[in-house]
Amino acid sequence: MSPFLFWIFASLMLVFGAAVVINRNPVASALSLVVSFLGLASLFMSLDAFFIGIIQVLVYAGAVMVLFLFIIMLLDLRAEARRRINWLASAGAIAVALALIPQIFYVVRHFKSAGQSFPPLAQSTTDDVHNIGALLFSNYNLPFQIIGVLVLVATIGVVLLSRREPR
């Protein structure tokens, strides 16, 4: 992938990620999150992880975002009232988050492989989904089944939680 496209998609993702945090209106935040995740999906595809990129679009832009928007509409949330902002707490939170960035730069600079570009891939005879699926059903069979149980438990929990209490 050309560096130009990489930086376009990366900045798209970061700008809209910041918009999620900055926007006061929850609907605007949710829509910014969709754009941010679409940028992330294109970064996945730039790394030749096409299956993960497609899953990202399907699960996040498809399912999770609809769920978020559905809940926002259902609860009829307006934009947050302009409360008095606790400036000290906000400044502390921003300072802690900003302090992470130089640490990441420091770690990446001292990581020897970080300066190398990606080695070329061989022309594969099988596609991405086939390779991941083969691994998922051989090496990772037990975790795969456990994750199935987890999703089942989550489904039951959601039904139980959203049931109206009998009076």
Binding site: V20, V21, L40, I55, A154
Partner: protein, 106 residues
């Protein structure tokens, strides 16, 4: 030339954006969205490492991509449960603000 370090730095900045969201915002829905952003930042670095560690067969290291698959599944389950808790909370308290939910505070 895009290097592994570029992807790691972008992923780190995305993580700190999500972290700032969790610390700054008081709306529970936005906090859940920021959690998603943090999980996806981890996914990005995992996929970058997967592409970087090309195997002897010339294919990327698919172990990391299977891990990302699991993370996405757990994140989806987490969002569903979190939003269900949010609805139950809104039903009893009529608020999604974390400042108004402090009855367990010491």
């Amino acid at each position: 030339m895009v290097t592994l370090g570029d992807y790691l730095i972008v992923s780190g900045i995305l993580f700190s954006i999500g972290f700032a969201g969790v610390m700054l915002r008081r709306n529970l829905i936005i906090i859940l969205m920021s959690l998603e952003i943090m999980l996806n930042a981890a996914n990005l670095s995992l996929v970058a490492f997967s592409r970087f560690r090309v195997q002897a067969t010339g294919l990327p290291d698919y172990n990391a991509q299977v891990f990302v698959f699991f993370i996405i599944t757990v994140a989806a389950a987490e969002v569903a449960l979190g939003l269900a808790i949010l609805v139950a909370l809104f039903r009893s308290r009529q608020t999604t603000d974390v400042k108004d939910i402090s009855s367990l505070k010491f």
